[in-house]
Symmetry: C2
Subunit: 171 residues, 2 copies
Amino acid sequence: MDTRTDTPHPAEHDKPDPLRIERLCIERGLKMTGQRRLIARVLSEAMDHPDVEELYRRALALDARVSIATVYRTVRLLEEKGILERHDFGGGRARYEATDHGHHYHLIDIETGKVIEFADEQHEALAKAIAARLGFQLVGHRLELFGRKASPEGAGGPGRRTPRRRGGDGA
Amino acid sequence: MDTRTDTPHPAEHDKPDPLRIERLCIERGLKMTGQRRLIARVLSEAMDHPDVEELYRRALALDARVSIATVYRTVRLLEEKGILERHDFGGGRARYEATDHGHHYHLIDIETGKVIEFADEQHEALAKAIAARLGFQLVGHRLELFGRKASPEGAGGPGRRTPRRRGGDGA
DNA sequence: TTAGCTGCAAAACGTTTGCTTCCCG
DNA sequence: CGGGAAGCAAACGTTTTGCAGCTAA
């Protein structure tokens, strides 16, 4: 099997600009308040997949004049505007990431909770083909891999495939 | 692209035995109480992907002596024992299905909420290969397609890719 | 006999919302 | 100025849990 279309870490770099998200907000005609700007900045700087509580924590660290309700409202708004993507990696809370660094999927390290991003055109095509074969037009899809670091010898107990609580990336 | 390993409806048939799940419970040494047996029967007969509330409703119809807390506890227990699989198809509630009818994936009709099952060996292999390439041993994975019935002409508005509330299959 | 299950009601959890005040455009 | 946004706290819907009594093994 050939999977050479993989890119180990499609993002992992494009976050320097702290105004990235704010610009997108303005583009879509959103009113930019102080807290909106603040949250946008936190999101622009996030390299991981934080949940709302974590975003709130990071925002607070920069400026105490935010409430968690506003974070919830903003995050929901930005998702509706297509600026953010919401994920459920298992753990009870939704986790967010900016959509502006390309389509990709996630591999969750079940040992550490760390999330690794990857892209795969082959999978993309396969998903579309399967949907078509079932008589559907593909509108969206979700692919998540759960794995553990491959060590030459198969040691260690099994462990959950979908952890119910707490991860290690971004939250 | 060749996806001929698809099977439109891998299950769709193997549910006649109302004691299927109960047997699995006994195999794993679970104490079989009346309500456990009841819930096991409801699960054995389910051809869909019911949520807890729906399971509760179906159980109640057969015998009023169950509480929803017990359904929650049982469903969690059976998931831990590997007898049930929990899914989040978007909609706020977890949905369950027995694991004993083969590995398969789901396509959710975003218009109706109906869930269609399918298998695909090619995807299976691809997932494993991607994980390996990233240096991981694949422990589990999730693939969900969201689509709408393909009509020759592209009518109708876009609609959510991941509905936040209410589905139409099993709940 | 007793480890483990059940029911009930209360609590926990993440998330949303009503209302009033505030502020961007 | 006017309409949307923020803060607070209360409400929400799903799921878990403490406790007292029950039951399968």
